[in-house]
Amino acid sequence: MIKVLFFAHLKDVIGSESVTLEMGGENIISLKKRISDQYRIDSLHTVMVAVNEEFADDSTILSDGDIVAFIPPVSGG
């Protein structure tokens, strides 16, 4: 199982601040695709992704127990 946390407006789009998924051995791209398909979001390509509080790129392989955060860069100031 992996836990995915959603920040900023993603939380509202998903309708929850986190989801738990049965997943392992797949990479961030697969996870993004799964989330995009399930929640019909097409803006995940600009989202920054952290795995266990370290920035990760699309090829990072996920393992059981990982906590993934999806953080959209916001511009307000």
């Binding site: 601040e17 990760a56 953080i71 100031g77």
Partner: protein, 339 residues
């Protein structure tokens, strides 16, 4: 030293030496909105030597809920934010030299301001300007502190050239203007928390306590209680055009600067003249009056309104056309009024 900074001097991370060092530092603050006014007040109260502020906007009623330096009187007078900030900051602490520029922050306009400073503080509201700051920071080897917020959410990261990954490394795809335009509002605490992270890091840099820097990218939501402190070590890219081995500073190239921009979440378009000009505002005000506009002016700008049309023209020829997101319409209003 007077009692003024006694509590800060008692703080072990700063002391007499740190306070003295802080008093000799110069900070360039880009933006005087929510993050800008709170960061400015914090640094000026702390006793920074010199603060230079750049902002293109003027004070409006909807700013007062979170932009802590401004008052109803500033709204009434339509003062540029930078000018209002200077007035209030000088009343707060006359030790700090405050210099302001009522201009658009572009690669061209910022370049001459950067070499003199010890730190660049980000209080902008768009990524176009942040990527310019990121390039300038690396070109002149000056640290900068990123901060952004929306809703109850905020994020901050300290960028040290030659050491940390830069903003360009972290943003795999550059979020375009418009895609990140905020329509979901913002609460004051999200501003204050972002500023707390930014200004604590600023104090460390300005008192030469670089060993104490946080080194992580923080991201938080004060409504849900979410928090992440993210390590960035593996994100540095050798081929980054800003901080890599063959840096070319792409965001400082003139072709990458836009002349006209829709302001985020504001129903406002900024139109810039092709070349900077120095307008005679009094004459412009008289011309607008003659055309049937209701005119309000101060030494920095002229505001003109007729029916639903509202335009504010600054001394450098820039104009904010309100009530529209349509660039073509805004340009036609500008050309009709400015000739």
């Amino acid at each position: 030293m007077s009692e003024r900074y006694s509590r800060q001097i008692l703080f072990s991370g700063i002391g007499e030496k740190g306070q003295h060092t802080l008093g000799e530092k110069h900070v360039l603050l880009i933006g005087a909105g929510a993050l800008g006014s709170a960061n400015a007040e914090l640094l000026v109260r702390a006793g920074v030597g010199k603060l230079t502020i750049v902002d293109r906007d003027y004070v409006e009623e909807s700013n007062l809920q979170r932009q802590q330096l401004y008052t109803e009187k500033d709204v009434e007078q339509k003062l540029p934010k930078a000018a209002a900030a200077k007035k209030h900051l000088e009343e707060i602490n006359s030790d700090t030299e405050v210099k302001v520029h009522v201009i658009d922050a572009t690669a061209q306009s910022l370049q001459p301001l950067v070499p003199d400073v010890d730190l660049i503080m980000d209080a902008t509201d768009n990524f176009e300007t942040r990527l310019i700051l990121n390039d300038l920071s690396h070109k002149y080897n000056i640290p900068w502190i990123f901060g952004a917020c929306v809703g109850s959410f905020g994020m901050s990261y300290t960028i040290i050239p030659g050491k940390t990954p830069c903003l360009n490394c972290l943003l795999r795809t550059i979020p375009l203007q418009g895609m990140t335009c905020e329509t979901s509002g913002i609460i004051g605490p999200a501003v204050q928390m972002t500023v707390a992270y930014q200004s604590a890091e600023a104090l460390k840099i300005l008192t030469e306590n670089r060993g104490a820097l946080r080194e992580t990218f923080v991201s938080f939501d004060l409504w849900s209680g979410q928090f992440q402190s993210i390590k960035t070590g593996r994100s540095k890219k050798e081929d980054c055009l800003t901080c890599g081995t063959a840096a070319s500073y792409p965001f400082l190239q003139p072709e990458n600067s836009t002349k006209t921009a829709v302001l985020c979440g504001r129903e406002t378009v900024q139109v810039r003249p092709p070349n900077p000009v120095d307008l005679e505002l009094e004459r412009l005000g008289r011309d607008f009056s003659a055309m049937g506009y209701e005119v309000k002016a101060n030494p920095y700008l002229v505001s003109a309104q007729k029916d639903a049309e509202r335009i504010v023209v600054f001394k450098d020829g820039r104009a904010l056309v309100h009530g529209t997101k349509d660039i073509v319409h805004a340009k036609s209003v500008y050309q009709r009024l400015m000739g």
